[in-house]
C-alpha cells in the first residue's frame, strides 16, 4: 500500500537560541489517490510539514514513513535518490531551471534517472499535452506566464511517476484564472490517473476544490475533514 504516515512529528527551529516550535506532535496518514489541502494561518507550519513529509527537512522528533520506508532515518544521498523516485515537488515559484526549455525541464528528472530516450520523449509530450502546453515545449521559463510555469512544474513533478506530489502554495503567485486552470489540471490528473496531490494554500477557492482539508494551528492539527469538492 502506498501511503505516508507521520508519527508525532515535532519541529523546533533554533533549539539553542530562541526556539520556535513550528510543528508540535503531528500524526497524519495520507493514502494514495488523495487530493488534500493543508491550510492554516501564516506561520502555522504548513511549509514545514510539507518539507518534512517530502524529506527535504528532518523533524526534531517523530518519524515519517513513506510506503513502508522510514525516510527520517535515511542518509542524505539515499534520501535524494528516494525523493527522485517517489515524490514530486511543486514550489510556490521559480521551480524551473531557467536555461532549459519547458520540454527539457520536464525531461530533466528522467535524465537523472537514466530513462531511455524514447520513453523520455513520449512521456514529456504526454505530460505537456496534459497540462495544456503542447505548443510551448521549446519555450524557456522566462517567456512563460506564472501559471504556465506552474503547469510545467506540475508536469515535471509527474515525469518520474512519483507516488505523491507535494505542492507548497502552488497558486500563491497566480491570478484567479490561472489558479483555476492549474486546479482543473491537478483535479483531472487526480481523478483520471489517480495521482496523489497534497498542497498547502491560503486561497478559499483552492480549499473548496480539495477532498480532504487538514487545518494546522500553531503546529498542531486542529481539524481534519473530508468534503465534497465544488465543481
Amino acid at each position: 500500500m502506498k501511503n505516508i504516515i507521520t508519527k508525532g512529528i515535532t519541529k523546533v527551529y533554533n533549539p539553542d537560541t530562541i526556539p520556535v516550535v513550528a510543528l508540535d506532535g503531528v500524526d497524519l496518514e495520507i493514502e494514495q489517490g488523495e487530493f488534500t489541502a493543508i491550510v492554516g494561518p501564516s506561520g502555522s507550519g504548513k511549509t514545514t510539514l510539507l518539507n518534512i513529509i517530502g524529506g527535504l527537512d528532518k523533524p526534531s522528533h517523530g518519524s515519517v514513513t513513506i510506503s513502508g520506508t522510514e525516510i527520517t532515518k535515511m542518509r542524505d544521498n539515499k534520501l535524494i535518490e528516494f525523493r527522485k523516485e517517489h515524490i514530486g515537488f511543486v514550489f510556490q515559484a521559480y521551480n524551473l531551471i531557467p536555461v532549459l526549455t519547458a520540454e527539457e525541464n520536464v525531461e530533466f528528472v528522467m535524465l537523472l534517472q537514466n530513462r531511455p530516450s524514447a520513453e523520455r520523449d513520449q512521456r514529456t509530450t504526454e505530460l505537456l499535452e496534459a497540462v495544456g502546453l503542447g505548443d510551448k515545449r521549446n519555450t524557456r521559463p522566462a517567456q512563460l506566464s506564472g501559471g504556465q510555469q506552474q503547469r510545467v512544474a506540475v508536469a515535471r513533478a509527474l515525469a518520474p511517476k512519483p507516488d505523491f506530489i507535494l505542492a507548497d502554495e502552488p497558486t500563491a503567485n497566480l491570478d484567479s484564472k490561472s489558479t483555476e486552470n492549474l486546479l482543473d489540471i491537478m483535479a483531472r490528473l487526480n481523478h483520471e490517473e489517480g495521482i496523489t496531490f497534497v498542497f498547502s494554500t491560503h486561497d478559499q477557492r483552492v480549499i473548496d476544490r480539495a477532498h480532504r482539508v487538514i487545518t494546522l494551528v500553531d503546529g498542531k492539527i486542529a481539524t481534519d475533514e473530508l468534503q465534497n469538492p465544488e465543481k
Binding site: G54, L56, D76, E81, R83, F89, F91, V109
Partner: protein
Amino acid sequence: MTTIFKLAWRNVWRNRRRTFITMASIFFAVLLSAFMVAFQKGAWDRMIDNVVGYYFGYAQVHQEGYWKEQSIDKAFAIPAELQSTPQDIHHIRIVPRIESFALASHENYTTGVLVVGTDPVAEDSLTKLSTRVISGRYLLPGEEGALIAEGIAQNMKLGVNDTLVLISQGYHGVNAAGKYPIVGIVNFPSPDLNKRMVYLPLEVAQYFFGAENLVTTVALNLENKDAVPPAVKALRKALPSGEYEVMDWKQLMPDLMKAREADAAGAYLMLFVLYVIIAFGIYGTILMMTKEREYEFGVLISIGMKRLKLGATIWIEIILLGILGSIAGILGAIPLVYYFNTHPLDLSQMSEEATGIYEKWGFDPIFPTAFEPGVFWVQALVVFLITAVLAFYPLLKIIRLKPVEAMRA
C-alpha cells in the same frame, strides 16, 4: 554527462554581464602576466645575447682550471678532437683565441689592456666585431696591426696609423714586447670592454706572447642557446677527461646568472601578487554567482539532483569560462607582446642616470619582449588553474547546502 555539459554551457551564457566580467578578469590576468613575463624574459635574453655576442660566445673550451685562474701559462695546442667534433655536429665553427693582459703605452700614456689574439674572420662571424669599427678598418688575417677599443684611443690620444707599444709577460715567463700600428678603432656599449680591448691577429699575438700555435680559449660559434647543451655534451665526451674544461654561457657568467636569478625572483614575487589579485577578482564573481543561485541549487537538489552532480555542473560552467577567458587572453597577449617584440621599449631617451646602469652591464637600454609560445601558454595555464581551483568553492557550498533554507530566501 551530456546533460551536465548542456546545462553548464547554457549557464555560461545565461547572465552575460557576469560571464563578461569573469571572462574579462581572466583575460586581463593572462594578458598582464604574459606581458610581464615576456618583458622580463626578453630583457634578460637580450642582455645575455649581448654579453655573449660581444665577446664570450655561448660556450668555450679551455685547459682545465683556466677560467678560475686565467694565465697565459694555461695555453694549449688545439687537439684534433676540438677541431673535428664541433665540425661534425651541425658544422659548428670554432673561434680560437689567445688572451692575456698587457701594458699598452703611447707617448707618455700607459694603461692596462686585454690583448686578444684571434682569427679575424672567425671572430667576426661570432661577435660581428667588424661592425663595431668606428674609424679605420677591420683587422686582416696575419697582418702586423692592432684594433683598439675607443676608450683606449681616447685615454691615450691614439688615432689610426699611430703605433701602440705592448709589453707583457709571455708564455712561461718570457718577455713579450711589440709595436703595432693601429688599423682601426672599435666601439663597445659596455664601458668595461671599451677601455680595455686590444685585438691582434691570432698568429701575431701568439708570436707576441711567445706561444706559437697555442691558444688559451676556444669559443664556439653556436647559433643560439638551444644549440648549447648538445654541443657541450658532445665535446665533453670527445675531449680527454681532466685536461679540458667545456663551459657554457651560464658557467662563464656566474655573476650575470646570479643577477638574473635575483631579478627573476623579484619578478616572480610581482607575478605572485598579480595572481593573488586575479584570484580575488575571480573568487568575487564566483562568490556572487553562488549566492545568487542558492535558490536554484535548492530546487535542483529537492527534485533529485545529486549534490556532486550539481557541483560538477557548476564546476564545468566555471571551467568553460576559464577556458574561454584564457584563450581570449592568449589571443590578446600575442599581438601586444609581438608589438613590443618588434618595437622594443627604448629607454635610451631617458636620463643618463637610468641608462647608465644598463651601459655598465654592457648593453643598450632597449627592451624587446620575448615572443615565445611558452610565455603565453604557461601564463594561460596558470590563470586557468587558479580558476579551476576556485571553481571548487560552489561545490563546497553545494555539499553543505540545506535546500529548505536555500529556498526560504
